[in-house]
Symmetry: C2
Subunit: 327 residues, 2 copies
């Protein structure tokens, strides 16, 4: 039996699956993620290696049995080399192939080879897929230059709105107390705003750049009751819809797969993005996926010449669900 | 004759002045600035020491003759300690006192002890001064949380507008070609936007966080001919006016001193901020200063018990102008 090793590396977790050529999952493991840009290649390579080891163990398989290995991850072949070396060291006899994390997200949601994917996690980006390959991309330019509607983008607006409120430069918002509480800042905002702001400044500047994304959920929690929070979520939805529309898809009736921690967990945002796309004549089905693992399995299989049709795709999803439940 | 040593440390340059108790400047030197937050205490201390040495030489004076020393700088007493040690090592027999850089900016513009100062350079902040001391501040919360209308704030909008334009997510703007040219990115935007964006991403993320402020002038260059650039400058002016109004000055007829590289060099921005303040019933005179050096001299003199009245203030300005011309 030909064994496949599929890795899916996201910003917050890394997933390893050992499966066969029919898409039946035999072993599964999850490791700490770690943004490779922030943490460097070595920790990501170490996590990839340890999750691979665990997934193989759970499948009752040896590294030497792996015939096809693929990792879906953001980034370059330089990063891949470090991960590849770790797997070789473990005894995996075949080279690790790199797959796009955005394509993996797309193929998680559909067996089709044409359509688009929109991801909003810490960052945000969209791709258009034609004939099974990425033919265009939009945004994904990082926290400084783009990532409109991402967790970082939303959180930045949250922390700035709270700062402006405390500083009497901006309108009152419930985000302020929510942020002070989430950041662990204590004190009386009426007696000494500067002492409170100094605390907030110290705490938030100590977080490496995209890390403030952790405060994005505050906007969603308060979107229905606070005007400023509602505006932030509305603007995020508009930005994400624009990112999809900028792809200039020839066929707006093809599937749009949406994912990433923000779009997957915030159904309100997902609905608003969908409505905005409908208003712009995007007629295709919109489907949410939790991650790119199933899609990465499809990519690994297709690379080995296995056809992934609708029943195979469904079997992969079901089988993955089962090993996840057991893991 | 009692000699005074006054230092004024800004983000881009450090100034040292040796003067007497009448405010007559005897020696002047300028050194490289360096943001102490970015470069650390040691380089700032080294610059302070070398500019002090030069200013003393030009005044034909010895370090041992210094009776009163004051440095106006952003930041803490921790930073001051490093600078102080360097001056002691040089032979300056008196301790270095710390003055607020924002107060120095205020006192550069007026002999009055009441009023407000607004600074927009790489960052942006405002203070209200009453009886010669700061009694309130607004913004100055840094690039992530505040600094509305600062060089960084403007530049961030410039680079994001250009990125969105290139990515077809945002409107066309002349800022795009201006930025590509300023950043040294070459290529054809019609044939391969992603290759061009990848270059821009690599170049701009390599600049430490507030450093992109260098691109702020692009917005001012194009404000009259490009809608997006005009909107950025207009929003900066509104933000800066709000920062002043948030001070909640009891007396809006007191002087407002404006400074910092952005507000000093961009007279259009200065006029718009002034108009917005006039619309909000701020009636006091608005006066621009290039830096806080004259004000730091005033602070040093006052600390030593010298009264700085209007004629003394005028003499300091004139004398400083003279040593600067000769330097």
């Amino acid at each position: 039996m030909q064994l496949f090793l599929t890795l899916d590396a996201g910003g917050t977790s890394t997933r390893a699956v050992v499966h066969d050529a029919t898409g039946t999952c035999l072993g599964y493991a999850v490791g700490s993620g770690g943004n490779p840009t922030a943490s460097g290649v070595a920790p990501v390579a170490a996590t990839m290696r340890s999750t691979t080891e665990q997934a193989l163990q759970r499948a009752g398989a040896q590294p030497a049995q792996v015939c096809h290995a693929l990792a879906a991850m953001a980034g370059s072949t330089v990063r891949l080399a470090g991960v590849d070396a770790g797997l070789r060291d473990l005894g995996v006899p075949v080279p690790l192939h790199l797959g796009s994390d955005l394509e993996a997200m797309f193929f998680s949601g559909t067996a089709a080879l044409d359509g688009a994917a929109l991801v909003s996690g810490t960052g945000a980006a969209a791709i258009v897929v034609a004939g099974g390959v990425t033919t265009g991309r939009s945004d994904g330019r990082g926290w400084l230059l783009g990532d409109v509607g991402s967790g970082y983008w939303i959180a930045r607006r949250v922390v700035r709105a709270a700062t402006a409120d405390l500083d009497h430069r901006g309108p009152r918002t419930a985000l302020t107390d929510a942020l002070l509480s989430a950041a662990g800042v204590t004190g009386d905002r009426t007696s000494d705003k500067d002492a409170l702001l100094d605390q907030l400044v110290s705490l938030l500047y100590a977080i490496p750049s995209p890390g403030i994304a952790r405060f994005a959920p505050l906007a969603f929690d308060l979107a229905d009751t606070d005007l400023i929070a509602g505006d932030i979520v509305e603007a995020a939805a508009e930005g994400l819809a624009d990112t999809v529309l900028a792809l200039g898809c020839a066929d707006a009736s093809s599937p749009l797969i949406v994912g990433g921690s923000v779009l997957y967990h915030q159904s309100g945002l997902r609905s608003t993005v969908t409505e905005l796309l409908r208003d712009s004549d995007w007629t295709g089905p919109v489907h949410a996926v939790s991650d790119g693992t199933a899609g990465a399995i499809c990519m690994n299989l297709r690379r080995a010449g296995v056809a992934v049709d609708v029943p195979t795709h469904a079997r992969i999803i079901a089988s993955l669900q089962q090993v996840r439940t057991n893991a």
